[in-house]
C-alpha cells in the first residue's frame, strides 16, 4: 500500500508527531521490515523490528526525500539494527529459541486458517533459511525492500558485482533445492 502523492503530506505530519501519519508510514512498511528481520533472526525478529522503528522515529526529523528514499532509509536502519543484534549475540553467546518452536505451544485462534496459511509460509521460510547468510541478506533486501542491486550494494557496503554474484548464487541454490525436493509451482501455490 504505497502512499503515492500523499507521501509528502504524511511525512510532514509524521515529523510533527501526528500519530495517524506515523501509523500510515508504519503500516506501509512494517510487514516487509518484520519479514526481512524475522527471516534472518527467527528468535527476536519482532523485537528487532520494534527497535528499528523507534530508531526510524529518532532519525525521521533529519530525513528528506521521496517515498522510495524513505523505503531505503527504513531498511538501512533495520539492517543496522540486525547487525548490532548479531554483535550482541556473539558477545552474549546465547541463542533464543526460534519462534517456530514456541508458536505451537501458544494458544491460537482459528486452527484451520493457521494450517492453510502456515504451510506455504513455512516452506518458503525454510528454503530461505537454508541459504548462506550473505546470500539470504541480498535476496531478502531485493524482495522485501524492493532495492536494486546497486542500492543493496550501497547499503551492505559491497560492490554491485559482488551483490549480483550473491543473488545469482542464491537463485541457483534455491532452484536446485526446490528441484531436489521436487517442489513444483503448483505445490507451492496450493501448500
Amino acid at each position: 500500500m504505497a502512499l503515492g502523492q500523499n507521501f509528502a503530506r504524511v511525512l510532514l505530519a509524521a515529523k510533527s508527531g501526528e500519530e495517524w501519519a506515523v501509523a500510515k508510514l508504519y503500516q506501509d512498511l512494517s510487514g516487509a521490515v518484520l519479514n526481512y528481520l524475522r527471516l534472518q533472526d527467527s528468535g527476536e525478529g519482532e523485537d528487532l523490528a520494534s527497535e528499528a522503528w523507534i530508531d526510524v522515529a529518532r532519525a525521521l526529523p533529519r530525513f528528506e526525500g521521496a517515498e522510495d528514499d524513505f523505503r531505503r532509509f527504513v531498511f538501512a536502519i533495520a539492517h543496522r539494527r540486525l547487525i548490532d543484534h548479531r554483535r550482541k549475540l556473539r558477545r552474549r553467546k546465547t541463542h533464543p529459541a526460534p519462534a517456530e518452536l514456541i508458536e505451537p505451544h501458544l494458544p491460537s485462534g482459528n486452527v484451520e486458517d493457521e494450517a492453510l496459511d502456515g504451510i506455504a509460509r513455512k516452506e518458503a521460510i525454510a528454503r530461505i533459511r537454508g541459504l548462506p547468510p550473505d546470500q539470504a541478506e541480498v535476496l531478502l533486501l531485493r524482495v522485501f525492500a524492493g532495492l536494486s542491486a546497486v542500492e543493496v550494494a550501497r547499503l551492505l557496503g559491497k560492490r554491485p558485482v559482488t551483490v549480483r554474484v550473491l543473488q545469482h548464487r542464491a537463485l541457483t541454490r534455491l532452484a536446485a533445492d526446490l528441484a531436489e525436493f521436487h517442489v513444483t509451482p503448483e505445490q507451492l501455490r496450493t501448500m
Partner: protein, 275 residues
C-alpha cells in the same frame, strides 16, 4: 556433492531472468519453466503476512496491527512530538561555555607577547616605509618585505627611490682631484661633458659660479697651468677610470705629472661623479 554442484551450475539463470524474478517483474507464469518454482517461492515471500497467525489472533478489534504495532506507533509519535524541544535543548547546549574565572596566567602571557611582537613589527615596518630607519635596518627590512611583494625604499634613498649623492667637499683636498678629473675630459666644458648627472662636477660648477669665476679660474690655484690648457689631450681616452674620486696625494702639495707625459692617469679620477 559433485552431482549437486553440476546440477546447480546447469540451472544458472541469465542476468535478465534473475533481475526479473527478483524484482517481481517476471511472475511465475512468465518465468522460464525451470525458474517457475523460484519465482513462485519469491511470490509467496512477498505475500507473507505482516504478523504471524498467533499474533493476528491476539489482535484486538478491527486493528490488524495488534498491540505491539499500536505501542510501537505510539512510541514513535511520542518521540517525534518531543523532537523539536529536544533539538532546541541541543542548540542551547551547544552555545560555547565561557567560564567566569580567569584563564591561566600563561595564556595571557603568550597573548601579550604575541601582541607586543606584532606591534613591534608593525612599528618597524611603518618606520621603514617612511624611510626613517638607519640604512642597514632599512635595507634589511626592504629586502625582507620585497620577498612578499612589498616595496620599501632602501637605505640612503629618498622617497622616490633615488640616491641623494653629496659629492666631494670642494673646500678640502678633494677639490684638486675633482679639478684634475674635470679638466682631464670628463667634465670639460669645452667638450660639452658637463654632465648634469655628475653631482661632483655640478658642485664644482656651482662653487665656481658662487665665487664668480669660471671653473678654470676656480681650479687654477690647485692645478698647474699646463693641466688646464692641455686637458683635451690623451687624458680623455684614459678617463674611464678606476678612480677613487680624489687624489690620494692631494694635500701634500705634489703635482701630478700625468699631464706632462700625455697619458697621465687621469683615469684614476674618472668616476668621481659617483661621489
Amino acid at each position: 556433492m559433485d552431482l549437486k554442484r553440476r546440477r546447480i551450475s546447469s540451472r544458472s539463470p541469465d542476468r535478465e531472468t534473475a533481475e526479473g524474478v527478483l524484482s517481481g517483474a517476471l511472475g511465475p507464469q512468465d518465468a522460464p519453466t525451470e525458474w517457475r518454482p523460484v519465482a513462485e517461492l519469491l511470490t509467496v515471500l512477498r505475500t507473507l503476512p505482516a504478523t504471524p497467525p498467533s499474533a493476528r489472533a491476539a489482535a484486538v478489534g478491527d486493528d490488524p496491527a495488534g498491540d505491539r504495532d499500536r505501542q510501537t506507533v505510539q512510541a514513535m509519535a511520542a518521540i517525534l512530538a518531543e523532537a523539536p524541544a529536544h533539538r532546541a535543548w541541543r542548540r542551547h547546549w551547544r552555545v560555547p561555555f565561557r567560564p567566569s574565572v580567569p584563564r591561566p596566567l600563561n595564556v595571557y602571557r603568550i597573548r601579550l607577547a604575541t601582541a607586543l611582537v606584532a606591534a613591534s613589527l608593525a612599528f618597524m615596518v611603518g618606520l621603514a616605509s617612511a624611510g626613517r630607519l638607519p640604512a642597514p635596518a632599512q635595507n634589511a627590512i626592504s629586502v625582507a618585505l620585497s620577498k612578499f611583494g612589498i616595496s620599501i625604499p632602501r637605505g640612503g634613498q629618498d622617497q622616490s627611490g633615488q640616491t641623494t649623492p653629496v659629492g666631494p667637499d670642494l673646500t678640502g683636498p678633494e677639490k684638486k682631484g675633482l679639478c684634475i678629473a674635470f679638466f682631464a675630459g670628463n667634465g670639460n666644458e669645452e667638450n660639452g661633458k658637463t654632465d648634469s648627472s655628475s653631482v661632483a662636477f655640478k658642485n664644482l660648477q656651482d662653487a665656481a659660479d658662487k665665487a664668480g669665476q669660471s671653473v678654470k679660474d676656480f681650479c687654477a690655484d690647485v692645478l698647474p697651468q699646463a693641466t688646464t690648457s692641455s686637458s683635451a689631450g690623451h687624458g680623455k681616452s684614459h678617463g674611464k677610470g678606476k678612480a677613487k674620486g680624489h687624489d690620494k696625494s692631494g694635500g701634500k702639495g705634489q703635482q701630478p705629472d700625468h699631464s706632462s707625459n700625455g697619458h697621465g692617469h687621469s683615469g684614476s679620477h674618472g668616476s668621481s661623479k659617483n661621489h
